[in-house]
């Protein structure tokens, strides 16, 4: 059993990341002396306002956007809600439908369901067995009745990259708005909103080393959306409420660092991830790596070991100090069947075995080597206890 902090290995960066030192340092003044309300006319207010505007400008620059196209939110979920509901509420008279995929994050899926509850139409694009959204099917579903299309850029459970620019072009051709949840993509794939046909985009701070509770939405100039909240005129009325200046500064700092380090960090993580996956496959040849046949980001690895449920394996890993996760968890913290793998047509017994390991700033070569050794060992141990697994092993030998 691990005894000290250095014995613990964090492999859940897709869930959240630690706040970076530079980010914390940048935020601290705004939690101290520079506490002003950016809407105030006095010196405290002016100071806060300048910091907020600067933060907005810096976030915009990391996305290839213009300053006025960035609106701060409480996080990815709010940004997704604002994008989809905001766009649909504005356009529903002429365009009652929304298009999304069945393997989106719940923040998008549940919002699309809300559209349906409010009388709209929800259209779901097919997901391929390889784990990507079928762009051809998307092109077929997008027509003049569609208000907004929402397709995630990088899937949060399996790490596959969707062809968002292609689907965005299809949306644009038919007058629909294109939204993408880029929470797992930002800082991992190249985003240039000056060139890419995307109208709305969501990012989240805590996946990239900023705190929980801050995110942003890109709203392309000229795109009209209805606000979710009602109140003051902050952020052009798109998002009333006194702005969280400190966290906005934190998000800007984290975003700059993430984009600056993107290529180098992806290369580093890809090498570690590949090493980990190869080690698992070598020891457990029937392990399934989800999304392996599709373009994937470097930091996410989703692995199923047939015959071993994810719940047991995650416990065994945690008891050795290795923190990973299942695809999705409900409020209680228990593992629930993955809607992502179900959408790909993965068999339930394989889907319930899926364990997600996600790499990031805390992933050192030593840590990954340790996991590469322990993961297969725990799998083999758990298999010893499972009669079912013993049977299937016997069958595969025969």
């Amino acid at each position: 059993m691990p005894q000290t902090a250095s014995d613990f290995i964090y492999l859940d960066h897709a869930a959240t990341t630690p706040v970076r030192r530079e980010v914390l340092d940048a935020m601290l003044p705004f939690l101290g002396d520079r506490f002003g309300n950016p809407s105030s006319m006095h010196r405290w207010g002016r100071e806060a306002r300048v910091a907020l505007d600067e933060a907005r400008e810096r976030v915009a620059a990391t996305l290839g956007a213009r300053t006025d196209e960035i609106c701060f939110t409480s996080g990815g979920t709010e940004a997704d809600n604002l994008a989809i509901l905001g766009a649909w509420h504005r356009r529903r008279e002429e365009r009652p439908a929304v298009v999304t995929s069945p393997f989106e994050h719940k923040a998008v899926l549940a919002t699309a369901h809300q559209v349906a509850r409010e009388g709209g139409e929800e259209r779901l694009v097919r997901v391929t067995p390889e784990g990507t959204v079928d762009a051809e099917d998307a092109e077929r579903l997008i027509d003049e009745a569609v208000a907004v299309v929402s397709i995630m850029w990088v899937n949060n459970e399996i790490g596959t990259i969707q062809d968002v620019p292609r689907i965005g072009a299809a949306a644009r051709a038919r007058g629909a708005l294109m939204h993408t949840d880029a929470v797992q993509a930002f800082g991992k794939v190249a985003i240039d909103l000056a060139a890419q046909p995307i109208d709305l985009l969501s990012i989240s701070g805590h996946k990239i080393g900023a705190p929980k509770g801050i995110g942003a939405i890109f709203v392309r100039r000229g795109v009209q959306i209805e606000p979710l909240f009602h109140g003051g005129s902050q952020d052009r009325g798109r998002r009333p409420g006194t702005e969280n200046v400190a966290f906005a500064v934190g998000l800007a700092t984290a975003a700059e660092l993430a984009v600056r380090d993107r290529e180098k960090e992806q290369a580093r993580l890809r090498a570690l991830r590949d090493e980990l996956e190869l080690a698992v496959l070598a020891a457990v040849p029937d392990a399934v790596i989800h999304g392996n046949g599709a373009p994937r980001v470097a930091h996410i690895s989703s692995i199923s070991v047939p015959g071993i449920d994810a719940e047991s394996l995650l416990m065994a890993l945690d008891l050795e100090g290795i923190a990973a996760s299942a695809g999705s968890a409900c409020q209680s913290g228990s593992v629930t069947p993955s809607h992502v793998l179900a959408a790909m047509g993965v068999r339930p017994e394989i889907a319930t075995a899926a364990v997600r390991m996600s790499l990031g700033s805390l992933s050192t070569p030593e840590a990954i080597r340790h996991v590469a050794e322990r993961f297969p060992a725990l799998v083999l141990k758990a298999r010893d206890f499972s009669g079912l697994a013993a049977e299937s092993a016997a069958l595969s030998l025969a």
């Binding site: 059993m1 719940e311 945690d318 209680s332 228990s334 629930t336």
Partner: protein
Amino acid sequence: MAGGSKGRVLVAMSGGVDSSVTAGLLVEQGYDVVGVTMKLFCHGDDVPDRPCCSLDSINDARRVCDTLGVPHYVLNMESAFGRDVVDDFVREYARGRTPIPCVRCNTFTKFRDLVHKADAIGARWVATGHYARVLDGRLHRGLDPAKDQSYFLWGIDRAVLSRLLLPVGALTKPETRARARSMGLRVVAEKVESQDICFVPHGDHARVVAARLGSDAPALARGNFVRADGSVVGQHDGFVRYTVGQRRGLPGGFAEPMFVTEIRAATREVVIGPRAELLGRGVVARELRWLVDAPLVGEHVEIQVRHRSTPAPAEIVRMDGDEIELALDEPVAAIAPGQSLVLYRGDLVLGGGVIEGARRALPVLAA
């Protein structure tokens, strides 16, 4: 040192005081404790104004483990619990019987499925907060007669006994609460005990049956109250609401207090009668399981036909495969099909089965 020298134990924690103290005692005794809470049912993510079912209990268990400095996990066992426990519960009620889901939960969910989880994390031991004791690999009543829960444990696999730890079985309930306070487990020390079946909201089992089988199921349809001779004496709103031995909700106007003596699902009749008609001189049970080497026909034992009833002396008169029949020294009232028959010798639990029915006449030992 953390980690524990006596080996790893998986503790099933409900968020209540008994299982919390169980975990605390095992930490004190030097075990490497891993707490788990089983999520057994969910009334739906689709009901947004209701918190996730049993969430508060799960959070309490997690806080207790945090206080004790041990890990805690939530295990999603909904589908197996639904299949092994809830489905059977509904099926039994639909047959006019009175099931005990806690027995099946112990048999299948806690002491089979959960033991598999223990295996997967290399835990030599499993523990629960039951008031019962394992002595020399044999199951005994809890020391506190007011709390004894051995009645619910007859169905567990005998092989599990050698790795089962039930530390609160040696305590009284007030002692358990006192231990909770001294361990600093304020969250749970004063918690009021729930007598409800965990997955049945407000004790309304008819609603669970209706939700599963539809409100037009025969068990929920109007039927007759009859006397043993077949004479109709009134009407009821569904036999699912009645249990053998029940007095509440019966037609009035009789000289003596009346009880449900039988439920005839096929004709939807609820038979009522005076106390004399409620008495059984024998009992038949099925799905037998033994926690010791099986006793022989002709042996004298004590039996219980419900939780907290006085043990009644009886003689085993027949055993065929997994069916048993006993003759009762004295008549026993309200032997309800679906409840458990548990056989004891003093504090020692011999085994048990599911009650099939009572015999009104004294059974005799086959020659």
